[in-house]
């Protein structure tokens, strides 16, 4: 358990965060050039299909974020170490951002391709539900007065919420849907030309690095918040007097 914690400590340090931020900018720029210039337009959907290079990476990163919430929640309940709770909280917040982005981009793409902003398509709908689950996770964190209890409840919700993640991906297979079947994660070769696949993979890397930077920054802020709360409490708790002083 100490190995991952030390790694997390190094990643959330100021130097690592600055480095992550620089790499996020560089890879994002590469992905942007790839998406707008290198990748050819889709034969059927035309230029609007380029939304794929942001929509799909944000969706994958969102699901990865909720996997981190799950892992952090399990580790927190097992060990009680607050570092895992910080990881889960930071991953949940970033996951909500990326899920929201996924839905908005999906709506824009759907408007262009299907002619409607929202079609109650099972995949979009369950992604929206996933967003609501993690909004509920945030509400649980702010609900009780006891921080220890809120962390445990949030961990329970984080674990239970993760159950929904595979349902989102499999919904395209389980239910009939107007949404495109998975093009990359399916048996057999991905149904994309190599240039598109390469740009998509670069975009996934870019989104991942941005996510890691957000994660590291949020964890560092949360560590400072915890230190501030501890310092305030330490100031307010009076020092214990020795028996000799009490008698004097």
């Amino acid at each position: 358990m100490r190995g991952p914690l030390r790694l997390a400590g190094r990643l959330t340090g100021a130097r690592s965060r600055r480095s992550l931020g620089r790499w996020a900018l560089i890879v994002s720029a590469l992905a942007l050039v790839g998406a707008l210039v290198v990748a050819p337009p889709d034969a059927r959907q035309g230029e609007v299909q380029r939304l794929l290079y942001l929509h799909v990476p944000t969706a994958w990163v969102a699901f990865a974020a909720f996997a981190l919430v799950f892992a952090g929640s399990v580790a927190y309940l097992r060990t009680g170490r607050v570092h895992w709770d910080r990881l889960a909280e930071a991953a949940a917040e970033a996951g909500v951002v990326f899920t929201g982005l996924t839905i908005v981009l999906g709506m824009l793409w759907g408007r262009a391709v299907w002619g409607a902003w929202w079609t109650w398509d099972p995949r979009l709908t369950t992604t929206l539900v996933l967003l609501l689950i993690y909004v509920g996770y945030g509400a649980v964190r702010h609900a009780p007065d006891n921080p220890s209890r809120s962390r445990r409840w949030a961990a329970v919700v984080g674990i239970a919420g993760f159950v929904d993640v595979p349902v989102v991906h499999m919904s395209v297979v389980w239910w009939r849907s107007v949404h495109q079947p998975p093009s990359v994660l399916r048996p057999g070769a991905p149904a994309m030309p190599p240039a598109m696949l390469l740009v998509l993979l670069v975009a996934v890397v870019a989104c991942t690095v941005v996510f890691l930077w957000l994660l590291a920054t949020r964890m560092a802020v949360r560590r400072l918040e915890d230190r501030l709360v501890s310092a305030v409490l330490d100031d307010r708790v009076p020092p214990r007097t020795t028996p000799a002083r009490a008698r004097g």
Binding site: L77, P122, T126, V129, L130, L132, I133, V135, G136, A139, V140, A143, P144, D145, N146, S148, R149, R152, W153, A155, V156, V157, I159, A160, G161, V163, D164, V167, W174, W175
Partner: protein, 222 residues
């Protein structure tokens, strides 16, 4: 006592409390009846649309009912700090979870059976509905909702939440169950066992019962 005896004791305790308090009868049933009638006003009077929406409405009422029932179950435990007795009792917390989930599930089975009867009366159940398929669907759906209510209901006991967080948690988490149980109910109304939906529903029940058995202790600790 064996674990099964502990589960039975907790189930009997919760059902006895509910029988004496009559909370389901005085609060949940009127609410559910009002919901069914109001939905009839909103979507009616055409019978075909009412029949189409009936499976979803039946289980929406189930979701509202489990929120109300779970909140009440934990408010009762919070009164006079009775939950401390549960914590200190020499029984496995998983048995407490299972007992409470069973009690909630039993109440929901009775309630959902009544709702189906009411919907059949007001909305006109289609001819050829399969009673065995409906029964299996109701039991599996109630088991899943009972597990969710038992696991997440502890959140409703916190003073600051006042139960407002419970619907926010239950409704999205129950979405896969809602899809499956609505599909299975629609199949039952057509006279078939919707095996795909029932399988998904059973899998969801297994997952949430397992989560409850593993995690319930963490929700009770102070």
């Amino acid at each position: 006592m064996s674990a099964w005896a502990d589960v039975a004791a907790i189930t009997a305790k919760d059902l006895r409390i509910e029988w004496r308090a009559r909370h389901a009868g005085s609060v949940i049933v009127p609410f559910v009846v009002t919901l069914v009638v109001t939905a009839g006003l909103a979507f009616g009077p055409g019978i075909s649309l009412l029949r189409q929406t009936a499976p979803g409405l039946i289980w929406l009422t189930g979701l509202f009912a489990v929120v109300l029932a779970a909140r009440h179950a934990y408010e009762v435990e919070s009164a006079d700090d009775a939950v401390t007795g549960l914590l200190l009792a020499p029984i496995d917390k998983a048995a407490v979870f299972a007992g409470k989930a069973n009690a909630l599930g039993a109440q929901l089975v009775v309630l959902q059976a009544a709702v189906i009867g009411l919907v059949g009366l007001l909305y006109g159940l289609p001819p050829g509905s399969s009673a065995p398929a409906l029964a299996v669907t109701v039991v599996l759906g109630a088991l899943g909702l009972g597990a969710m209510g038992s696991l997440l209901g502890a959140v409703a006991g916190a003073p600051r939440t006042q139960g407002s967080v419970l619907p926010l948690l239950v409704f999205p988490l129950a979405a896969p169950l809602l899809l499956a149980v609505t599909g299975a109910t629609a199949g039952a109304f057509r006279g078939v066992f919707a095996v795909q939906w029932l399988s998904l529903l059973a899998a969801f029940d297994v997952v949430f019962w397992s989560l409850g058995i593993l995690l319930y202790g963490a929700t009770l600790e102070d």
